[in-house]
Assembly symmetry: C2
Homo-oligomer: 149 residues x 2
Amino acid sequence: MSPTTVTTSGFLQVLATQIRAQDPYGVYRTWSDQRLLQPFILTKDEKRKIPVDTPVDPVTRGRITYFHSAIARQIEQKTGQLMQVVVNLNEEGFGWALIFSGKLLVVTRTLRDAQRFGFTSLELLQEDGEKAVRSGIALAEQFPEVTQA
Amino acid sequence: MSPTTVTTSGFLQVLATQIRAQDPYGVYRTWSDQRLLQPFILTKDEKRKIPVDTPVDPVTRGRITYFHSAIARQIEQKTGQLMQVVVNLNEEGFGWALIFSGKLLVVTRTLRDAQRFGFTSLELLQEDGEKAVRSGIALAEQFPEVTQA
């Protein structure tokens, strides 16, 4: 590990694990978590340059799914309830990211300009993920009977 | 209206209305509801002939969305709660149809072999739709606070 490598923890680590789980050829084995998460980081300028009049490309779509799967996995860990993830995007990059258990939606996020999905820093990526995890856990604890319905 | 036309009511009528709402050129204006709903009816043999190793074609995808939108509209009418519809299908015709309000999923249906979406008769189409409407209304009445969450 090089001395400049940021050691990831919490949400970022779970997110990296999600990505590593989809690496049948072991390409990412020698990569640091930070390198693995780099494509999630976009400056405002980089975002602006991505056109939003075309469908979301499969790699970006994959990143959106990894992000929400990481949220779901953390909510599962804390609540013991299995979570389903559905990411639904239309041709214009609008749609929904949903995480649910039984009949309870613990996360409902509308997506727009999903072609430009990204965060300006690793810290903001972590913050946004953990915010969704916290509110998801709170909902699962508030309505446990709905997760069983 | 020809004497052999079945007059639709309840769910089938709402479903026909969903389809007519997406008819900007008025092509369906002179069509009976029954003719409009005919593509929802497939014999077992017709289903078997539809390959399931290709993505769901847009017209079939549209029918799946109309069907669940009709369910959502009827639940809205009875409960006064706005419902969102998400139909999520992967390349292999597997996925979810979800209807929700606030944080409550009133309908969660897994779809498989969605390429073959259809019913063997109008009666079965109506029955299946109304069954989902009834259980959706029951859930919305059981957990009203979750639709507001």
